[in-house]
């Protein structure tokens, strides 16, 4: 269990004869965000944007692929966002891909270059790319789940010769919701295999045109059938809706990938990032400390209990 001792910063009372009464206060400092400027805002899909942020204050510590930050929009609120940029980038910029699903995420999608936001973090556990040297890497994403995986994918592709096969299986509801199509060529150039699928291929209700699509139609787990890599030498990184992760995890187990070599990325209500607000509990875990990335053998029994 990781503990984060808080260092009280409260001043000593004037008439203090003994030491100050520090244990009656928890410092608010970890709840104060550092300012970052939006330097780029790229629209990925109709409701999803990728933002690049550069620090105005002391930058937050270096992140690991899979970790998340708390991003604050002035006067609107703060949300957890997984880092989607490469941890190998040498500067202190942060890249986040955000889908507009609420007030804060919608405000972030609209935050043009020059906007100032707040960032706390990085928090939580990361994808264990380092522990998978020499192994095949299999990335399985459902929808926006590709964003937290991109960070680990770019890390692996950046040091390509340390790994075996690198395969990306990405699913989305419809073709227009697939992320990062414009950089897929670069992934392929680095020797990744990328397979994409959509849940359905239907005519657009306005144009009545069936969208152009060169991938598969079906669930992302269907793509596993074509895999030939040796399962015992494969590490799988899985991120998507919970139902996608449990089904994919079970399918990967059946293929023979060891449970502790299947990593999933959990989502709960992360609010403080410090394990003190309590909201992100999942059984014994504080997802902000013990997650979001965890192994499938740990996550499976927790996800199996309804409304845990």
């Amino acid at each position: 269990m990781t503990t984060t001792p808080t260092t009280p910063t409260t001043p000593i009372a004037q008439n203090s004869q003994n030491a100050q009464n520090t244990r009656t206060a928890t410092s608010s400092a970890p709840m104060v965000p550092a300012r970052y400027r939006v330097v780029a805002n790229h629209r990925d899909t109709a409701d999803t944007h990728t933002l690049r942020l550069a620090p105005l204050d002391q930058p937050i510590p270096r992140f690991r692929a899979g970790q998340f930050t708390m991003v604050y929009v002035f006067g609107v609120g703060e949300i957890p966002l997984s880092v989607s940029g490469s941890p190998l980038v040498g500067d202190d910029t942060l890249v986040h891909t955000v889908r507009a699903v609420g007030a804060v995420s919608a405000a972030l999608c609209q935050a043009g270059p020059g906007s100032i936001v707040g960032v706390r973090g990085p928090f939580g556990t990361g994808w264990d790319v380092e522990d998978s040297l020499g192994r095949n890497l299999l990335f399985v994403a459902g929808g926006i789940g590709l964003a937290p995986l991109r960070s680990a994918l770019l890390e692996a592709l950046g040091t390509r010769d340390r790994f075996g096969f690198i395969t990306v299986l990405a699913g989305a509801k419809v073709p227009a919701e697939h992320l990062y199509r414009d950089e897929e060529e670069s992934w392929l150039a680095h020797g990744a295999v990328v397979l994409r699928t959509v849940d359905r291929l239907e005519p657009d209700p306005c144009t009545l045109q069936v969208p152009a699509w060169d991938g598969s139609v079906g669930l992302v787990t269907d793509l596993l059938a074509g895999l030939r890599a040796r399962p015992e030498h494969t590490t799988a990184f899985v991120c998507g809706p919970e139902v996608t992760m449990t089904h994919t995890g079970s399918a990967l187990l059946e293929l023979g990938i060891p449970a502790h070599r299947i990593e999933v990325c959990l989502e709960r209500n992360m609010r403080c990032g410090l394990g003190i607000c309590g909201h992100c509990q999942l059984g014994p875990d504080f997802v902000c400390l013990d997650g979001p990335v965890t192994t499938f053998d740990h996550a499976e029994p927790l996800l199996a209990i309804c409304e845990l």
Binding site: T6, P8, V32, G75, R271, E307
Partner: protein, 377 residues
């Protein structure tokens, strides 16, 4: 257990409680303790010992709390009330920072709120609440070596009908080793007069005792205090089932009993508000009407609140059943995984202040009866 020969002990008269408060104030502490208000014993600043609930006791049962008069004039003859020391150690609402935005550039700089610490002296801390203070500090990940408030503990001689600290190992007496307190009192109301046995826990406790008229403690007073605590242990209103609750709850996730308790539970969160160890908070970001002044506030939250488990698309725990299960399982089960102990100290507040009288000891006993023992272990 034999009385320790190393602990420093003394006897003070009931009138000398005032001298204790005066000595604490002179040492720069703000004494707070039990006072009668709104037909309950609550915690507030103490001006003098006259503010303490002389001759008032409490009568509790599930969903029930009443004050009663005591014939023995005891000052600490009451069990725990609706409040706990949590309100001082972990305020119900506090501002974390504020920021003003420059409307032209959109720039802002969050200013942390500088908190001026109050040097509290907690007077009348029951042994269950001593344990609660320790558990709360651990849950909030505070430095356990940092100096805390001055603590005058009072051993329990008259536990309430909702008390079960003997089951949780947190009462009704204090330890001789001085764990958690500076001074520990045992109230003696017998024929020898209204007195307090004082046990010194720390050096700063000793310096307060030195400033108060006191006499050496006769062995008879020490033995009387032991008997009072031992008898209190035998008069606990409630007990926890004699089983490993952590194992029980880990195996109870799908128990039918959760439906039963959910049919009674209002999901009001009273139990979490009165619990001396429930630590969850919500963070609220606000602005004023101009939109250019923002503040961040932290306030107590409850796992019974539907928004508590909100992630985009909806709450994880929508049913009352899942929220009650979360609370009870966390308190008695997964708390061990997170913080190395149970989260319950047996104070009984959640039983007395539940509007429908749900009793955690009864719920745990019911789970224990319905869950089959695991044979292959």
């Amino acid at each position: 257990m034999e009385p320790s020969t190393t602990a420093r002990r003394a006897v003070i008269t009931a009138e000398a409680l005032d001298d204790v408060l005066i000595a604490l104030t002179a040492a720069g502490y703000q004494p707070v303790g039990p006072v009668v208000r709104d037909s309950a014993i609550v915690l507030d600043a103490l001006g003098s010992a006259a503010d303490l609930p002389h001759g008032r006791g409490t009568e509790t049962s599930p969903g029930h709390y009443r004050l009663r008069d005591r014939s023995d004039g005891a000052v600490f003859g009451h069990s725990t009330g609706p409040q706990s020391w949590k309100q001082y150690l972990h305020p119900a609402r506090r501002k974390l920072w504020s920021a003003d935005r420059d409307p032209a550039s959109g720039d802002f700089a969050p200013e942390p709120v500088a908190e001026v610490p109050v040097r509290y002296a907690f007077v009348g801390v029951r042994p269950c609440d001593l344990a609660a203070i320790r558990i709360l500090n651990r849950a909030l990940r505070r430095d356990e070596n940092a100096e805390g408030p001055f603590i005058v503990a009072v051993e329990c001689g008259d536990p309430g009908a909702t008390c079960f600290c003997a089951s949780t190992g947190s009462g009704p007496g204090c330890t001789d080793s001085g764990e958690g307190y500076d001074l520990a009192l045992t109230e003696l109301t017998g024929s020898a007069g209204h007195r307090f046995l004082v046990t010194v826990g720390t050096a700063r406790g000793a310096s307060i005792l030195d400033a108060v008229p006191h006499a050496a403690a006769p062995q008879s007073a020490v033995m009387t205090a032991r008997r009072i605590v031992a008898e209190a242990r035998g008069r606990m209103g409630r007990t926890l089932p004699d089983t490993d609750l952590r194992v029980l709850l880990a195996r109870s996730a799908e128990a039918e009993r959760w439906d039963d308790v959910a049919s009674r539970c209002l999901a009001c969160g009273n139990c979490t508000m009165v619990c001396p160890t429930c630590f969850c908070t919500s963070v609220e970001d606000t602005t004023d009407l101009t939109g250019d002044h923002a503040e961040r506030w932290e306030s107590w939250d409850s796992c019974f609140d539907i928004d508590y488990s909100y992630i985009h698309g909806g709450a994880v725990r929508t049913s009352a059943k899942s929220r009650y299960r979360q609370w009870l399982t966390h308190k008695f089960g997964t708390w061990h995984d997170q913080f190395g102990s149970s989260g319950c100290v047996g104070c009984g507040r959640c039983i007395a202040w539940c509007p429908v009288g749900i009793d955690v000891t009864e719920e745990l006993a019911a789970l224990d009866e319905t869950i089959e023992p695991e044979t292959a272990r």
